[in-house]
Amino acid sequence: MARKGTGRSVVISTLAAWLVGFLIFFPILWMVLASFKTELEAFATPPSFLFFHWTTENYVTVQERSDYLHHAFNSIVIAGGSTLLALLIAIPAAWSMAFSPTKRTKDILLWMLSTKMMPSVGVLVPIYLIFRDFGLLDTRIGLVFLLCLGNLPIVIWMLFTYFKEIPRDILEAARMDGATIGRELVYVLTPMAIPGLASTMLLNLILAWNEAFWTLNLSTLEAAPLTTFIASYSSPEGLFWAKLSAASTLAVAPILIIGWFSQRQLVRGLTFGAVK
């Protein structure tokens, strides 16, 4: 922090930062505000910003018409389950690639990432047929597996970059100190990898929570998470902006709160271990 700005430049850059922040945040703010309006006010022109008739009626209607808690529970099971399953597979995979790489390690990593380059819709029909034949349509377990597989390349990549940052010397020092592989994992590697594991878990949780393509196509009611719940309010008979906003607010609230409290880990997660 050798560079210290003058008073005026600090004011200008602070204002600019707030402005950009506000612009990015504005759609979410607008959604929250709209959820407290009546349906008429919600699409009135010119729109009213703060001076409207505040009501919580939309939230009541939304809860009456569709069971928010049921969908929220599905979201938690699907996002949480797929994240845990992905970590369970990714930790040993990333571990072996980071600490005993072979000639093909780089190729395997690239191949895994390349699976993310194909548009999901390209495999919709085969996946739908597989789900149908195995009786996985509209089941939570099916979505847990699918989202886990979908995010696995990213999880492995992230963990790989974190593990790579851990100096080999330290693991060798533990080995010289008499630690077995198991104890080395428990006492040395895991504590050093916790920030990386935490940010990977958070990022994957958010990706899985917000995933809409597969959840919309493969679930109807039983296993439908919050994404389906939101989508059900954009119906062909006409849009209910206020109710849609209320549903959306309810859907993003949990993840917004988690994100708020774990900003540091998230930023680190999003920079993909590039910042040391």
Binding site: D169, A173, D177
Partner: protein, 335 residues
């Protein structure tokens, strides 16, 4: 006890031979330094002894037992790494205690040993700090503490002082030597710094391109270098090496004479004539770089202050008993 014997130890990574057959006997309690230019295999040899690398051939014996198939943890050695390799999430106490904890010692005994090690290394006030809150020298001492607390059969040091500044390096050099003598534990110390090697070692192993060139006490290496490589590597400033007619006259392909064994004689006397190129006045010594025509540039070390400057003409005379002779293969000719 900590006698370490290497018998025909080899190591290759794929087609590249790093260690080409090393035989060595390190007696119990000795301080042995592996020295050589970078890439000579000294660190690899140390890692083979530690068990962090597997040998490609040969045997490593610790107190007579072959340990090539024994994992590092079971060899009873401890190692100090160049990067210190402290556990960043543990306090100094945790770092020093880790090995004892892994060995399953009772808590009271661990505490007592950690306190004792910390006292020896002046670390007592820092026991509850994390490594990132310590200076380089303190971190180095923690790494040493972690090594001594386990009372190993031998210490392995991998260039432990190379990250410290010059003044601290000299101080730590003394501390490490004193500590090793006090504990009487075998130590193997890797460095590329021949001054460190000469000052610390009971015995020096000079390595070059994966081979042991010579194994002996510092003074043996200085007085009777086995070949050109050792002659050029040990001693500072470097030995003057002269080829051609002057060497042939003495029945050798190359002759060598150390800067401190060349005297300046009065003008007109017998000797090598030359012109001073650079004169370095250090007060205690004067270093002269002399252009001696067909002999090349010679370095001369004179004790005390010599009033000579660039451009002066001098006559040099080597001490006859200190002229080393080498044959066409670079092997020393004695007698």
């Amino acid at each position: 006890m900590g006698r370490i014997t290497l018998e025909g130890v080899q190591k290759s990574f794929g087609p590249v031979h790093i260690i080409k057959g090393a035989d060595l006997d390190i007696p119990d309690g000795a301080f042995v330094v592996f020295v050589g230019p970078s890439g000579c295999g000294k660190t690899t040899l140390l890692r083979l002894i530690a068990g962090l690398e597997d040998v490609s051939g040969g045997r490593i014996l610790i107190d007579g037992n072959n340990v090539v198939d024994v994992p590092p943890a079971k060899r009873g050695l401890s190692m100090v790494f160049q990067s210190y390799a402290l556990y960043p999430h543990m306090s100094v106490r945790g770092n020093i205690a880790f090995g004892l904890k892994m060995a399953g010692l009772p808590k009271a005994e661990i505490n007592q040993k950690v306190e004792a090690a910390a006292a020896t290394l002046n670390l007592t006030p820092y026991l509850d700090r994390k490594p990132r809150e310590l200076s380089g020298g303190q971190r180095q001492r923690v790494a040493i503490g972690r090594a001594i607390v386990r009372e190993p059969k031998a210490f392995l040091f991998d260039e432990p002082l190379s990250n410290l500044d010059a003044a601290l390096r000299v101080q730590m050099r003394l501390e490490v030597t004193r500590l090793q003598k006090q504990l009487g534990t075998t130590a193997i110390y890797v460095t590329h710094d021949q001054v460190e090697a000469m000052t610390m070692a009971d015995k020096i192993v000079v390595l070059n391109a994966g081979r042991i060139e010579q194994y002996g006490s510092p003074i043996e290496l200085y007085q009777r270098p086995a070949n050109l490589f050792v002659a050029g590597f040990i001693g500072s400033p470097k030995m003057n090496l002269i080829t051609g007619e002057e060497a042939a006259r003495r029945g050798a392909t190359t002759i060598g004479v150390r800067p401190e064994h060349v005297a300046i004689v009065d003008e007109g006397g017998e000797g090598w004539r030359g012109e001073v190129l650079v004169a370095e006045h250090l007060g205690s010594d004067t270093f002269l770089y002399v252009d001696a025509g067909p002999l090349g540039t010679l370095t001369v070390r004179c004790v005390g202050e010599k009033r000579l400057t660039a451009g002066d003409h001098v006559t040099l005379r080597p001490e006859p008993s200190r002229v080393y002779r080498f044959d066409g293969n670079g092997t020393a000719i004695f007698g």
